[in-house]
């Protein structure tokens, strides 16, 4: 079971270290669950800016003595993977309650340094080419997708505009102003065909949730969401010359099979949305429409919390901000809120099944890690 969804409100820049943000996330989990430090006996940590420390250093920093520990440095795939690891640990009895936390700080110059040393392949074969960072990599994927599948800027814009409407109902979102299609289209170019509102804003923040047994959650009187199915896959389709699909396309039948539901039973979806083209790729690969039908699918739905096909109901990273590794947690934490009835005015009415997708690590020319989880309301 998943419980106690917490968000440490994001800021654009922070003078604090990643440890501060992760400490805030852990403390929020304790407050939300009324647990003491010692009762949480498992921990997973995801962070880019925690270096030179890893999860184990954080245990001493925060005075924790977990009997189960994992460091999950998988970027946007971290939350799904952390959930999978934690659920197995709880199932096997290696831990009773696992705290899954992800977060990063963002100093004024830290994003550039993260990019320059993101991976050996990036340092050798991407960063020297204009140092555009992920903007340039996703510009290629977006340009290629537009050419092959006939997507228009308006299609991506529709997702961005809808997500902004959702974000206006999420107090922790960094973006507080409405976004219109006209503003979206008129924004300055960043890495053509990407313009300003296609790109996530790096920021500081943290997210967290607990994984524990149903019995334990009930004993603690914690509202919880049920884990129905998960998949993960890394470096899928390595011989595709340019990325148009990722691991979901390999594993989605397994995902829906585990959950015993069809895509049409899903009430809301939280995609990994550092750039809108990746949301379209996920919707296709996860079976909500066929490959290449993303643009037509977008034209058919509204994607708002109260409309058809609610997507990224807290605004997604595009409207909340990308707090490093917390970016992968944003959708997971929001899905728990939706399924435990804590989403306030963003609540998707009667939400029983939610799908959370993760996508991480542009090591060279594509995102390597993909994962997804289907969560359900306790009575679903």
């Amino acid at each position: 079971m998943l419980a106690a969804p917490v968000t440490v409100p994001y800021v654009r820049y922070s003078i604090r270290a990643a440890h501060w943000w992760l400490a805030r996330a852990f403390d929020s989990l304790l407050k939300k669950s009324n647990l003491s430090k010692d009762e949480i006996d498992g921990l997973t940590v995801s962070s880019f800016t925690l270096a030179p420390d890893t999860a184990i250093g954080l245990t001493q920093h925060l005075g924790l003595s977990p009997r189960w520990l994992d460091h999950v440095p998988l970027g946007g795939a971290s939350a799904v993977v952390a959930l999978r690891r934690a659920a197995r640990a709880v199932q096997a009895g290696d831990a009773d309650i696992v705290a899954c936390i992800g977060g990063d700080t963002n100093h004024v110059d830290s994003f550039r340094l993260t990019l320059a040393n993101f991976s050996q392949f990036a340092r050798d074969a991407v960063y020297p080419y204009g140092a555009g960072g992920p903007n340039a990599s996703f510009a290629f994927l977006t340009a290629h997708y537009m050419r092959v599948h006939g997507a228009r800027r308006e299609d991506f814009g529709k997702l961005c505009v809808a997500q902004r409407a959702n974000a206006l109902k999420f107090p922790s979102a960094l973006f507080k102003k409405p976004l219109t299609m006209e503003q979206y289209l008129a924004a300055r170019p960043i890495a053509e065909p990407l313009h300003l509102f296609d790109c996530v804003m790096p920021c500081a923040g943290a997210e967290g949730f607990l994984v524990l047994s149903e019995k334990r959650a009930q004993a603690l009187r914690l509202p919880f969401a049920r884990l129905k199915a998960t998949i993960e896959r890394h470096n899928a389709f390595p011989s595709d010359p340019v990325q148009m699909r990722a691991g979901w396309a390999l594993d989605r039948d397994d995902l829906y099979g585990q959950a015993g539901v069809e895509p049409k039973a899903i009430d809301f979806v939280e995609t990994y949305d550092d750039y809108p083209v990746i949301s379209l790729m996920q919707l296709e690969d996860l079976g909500f429409c066929s490959k290449g039908d993303g643009p037509a699918f977008v034209r058919k739905h509204s994607f708002t919390c109260e409309g058809s096909f609610p997507l990224n109901t807290s605004g997604g990273q595009l409207s909340v901000g990308q707090a490093g590794a917390a970016g992968g947690f944003l959708g997971m934490v929001e899905a728990i809120r939706q399924l435990t009835g804590e989403a306030g005015e963003r609540q998707v009415k009667g939400a029983k099944f939610g799908l959370v997708s993760g996508f991480g690590m542009i090591n060279y020319d594509r995102g390597l890690g993909s994962g997804a989880a289907i969560l359900a309301a306790p009575k679903a």
Binding site: F111, R112, L115, A116, N117, Q120, F121, R123, D124, A125, V126, Y127, P128, Y129, G130, A131, G132, G133, N135, A136, A139, F140, L141, A143, H144, R147, R188, P189, I190, A191, E192, P193, L194, P238, P241, V242, Y364, D365
Partner: protein, 410 residues
């Protein structure tokens, strides 16, 4: 490209910055090939798979025997982008910047800089590895045709050292090579060629022809005279974009065939100390102008010799002086790199001149050598081995330096 306007001296001179220079050791294989103007990628010796980005192990069969091998340059542009934002100072000052994603015929997909004629994927392209301003290899996609112009390409001009619209100092105009170089530079649209000549009280063969070329200005220059070098630098170092140091003394024989050290000292004084004097006086000014507009200071060319790699005993003291100069040129290269000024080392085989009278052909004709030097500037090549002899010696030296030493002493 239009000839750049005269600079307003009141405005700031743009300071040199470099594109991101960090590379893993294994990735420097691309740089080693690009320095010679070659395009090589790692290829697995066991299964033949071509690798990119550079790896420590084959992505297919996990073999760790990956050889750098010449690869076909055909590719297809799959996607392009125009950066309007960069996290790096060098690119930030040069935006917008166009990039492409290219699927190579030999397998991998590469990120590349784009020539301005490359537009609208899908499109056939030809790729090459080039040294960028940081001296590290990058891949560029060019139109699929011969003789592609990089001199006028806004992006690729940043990576080459094309003499077009630039001001060049040739340190010795008296030799056949010097005069061939001047002609070659003038036809490459060099704006000014300052030509040094020692012993200005003597008129040398070809002087009158040089004087008639409008781009040429003859300047007394004796590289063995520190004061003379300093005075010339005071006059023109702040304007020179390319130095071609072709001044050399070449006498035959090794150790046993000559008494005393005077001849060897004369060789060292020109071939080694001459370079040192020039570098001390011209280097700092050029370093400060490494990003001074589209016709910034870009290159320093040293005329070395293939004998710099391995001593050729019949020309033993000359070989030693060129080996010393080679070593110093590596130091100069390290000191000029932060400013983006490329040090181009030229290692010709025997030149077809009077000092190689006793050597059998093939020998490099001065005009061919001049063409190779200007070609290297245009193409952005760092180490040039012109002529069949140089190419053959290089291959032998790379294969087994000890074997070459024995062969040369036979």
């Amino acid at each position: 490209m239009q000839r750049p306007k005269r600079k307003n001296p009141v405005l700031r001179t743009r300071l040199p910055t470099l594109p991101p220079a960090a590379r893993s050791r294994v990735a420097l294989g691309l740089t080693a090939a690009a320095a010679l103007g070659r395009f090589e990628l790692q290829q697995c010796r066991d299964c033949g798979t071509v690798q990119y980005p550079p790896r420590e192990a084959c992505q297919k069969c996990l073999s760790v025997v990956l050889d750098w091998k010449a690869q076909p340059t055909e590719g297809e542009l799959l996607a392009q982008t125009v950066l309007h934002h960069s996290n790096d100072l060098f690119f930030r000052e040069r935006l917008p910047w166009r990039l492409g994603l290219v699927k190579l015929a030999c397998g991998p997909t590469v990120v590349s800089h784009l020539h301005e004629e490359i537009k609208n994927p899908p499109m056939k392209v030809r790729i090459r590895a080039m040294l960028d301003r940081a001296g590290q290899a990058v891949i560029a996609a060019l139109p699929d045709k011969e003789n592609c112009d990089m001199a006028d390409d806004r992006q690729l001009r940043e990576f080459t050292c094309d003499p077009k619209h630039r001001k060049v100092l040739v340190t010795d105009g008296k030799t056949a090579l010097g005069q061939a170089l001047i002609k070659e530079l003038v036809s490459a649209k060099t704006e000014i060629v300052w030509v040094g000549y020692a012993e200005p009280w003597k008129k040398f063969a070809g002087f009158d022809e040089l004087e008639k070329i409008p781009q040429v200005t003859l300047m007394p220059l004796d590289v063995t005279d520190s004061k003379n070098v300093r005075e010339l630098a005071a006059e023109i170092a702040g304007k020179v974009d390319i130095v071609v140091n072709n001044a050399e003394v070449h006498r035959s024989f090794g150790i046993g065939n000559r008494q005393g050290v005077e001849t060897a000292r004369a060789e060292m004084d020109v071939n080694y100390f001459g370079l040192l004097r020039l570098a001390q006086e011209f280097g700092p000014a050029m370093r400060s102008r490494g990003a001074d507009g589209s016709s910034s200071a870009v290159a320093w060319v040293n005329l070395l010799s293939i004998y710099a790699l391995a001593n050729f005993p019949p020309h033993g003291t000359f070989s030693a002086s060129k080996a010393a100069a080679h070593s110093l040129a590596q130091c100069l290269r390290a000191e000029m790199r932060p400013a983006g000024v490329r040090v181009v080392n030229v290692f010709p085989g025997p030149i077809d001149d009077e000092w190689n009278q006793l050597l059998p052909p093939p020998k490099v004709a001065p005009a061919a050598l001049a063409e190779a030097i200007v070609g290297a500037l245009r193409e952005g090549i760092e180490d040039v081995y012109p002529g069949d002899v140089a190419q053959e010696w290089l291959a032998r030296w790379r294969d087994n330096p000890k074997a070459l030493e024995r062969e040369l002493s036979a």
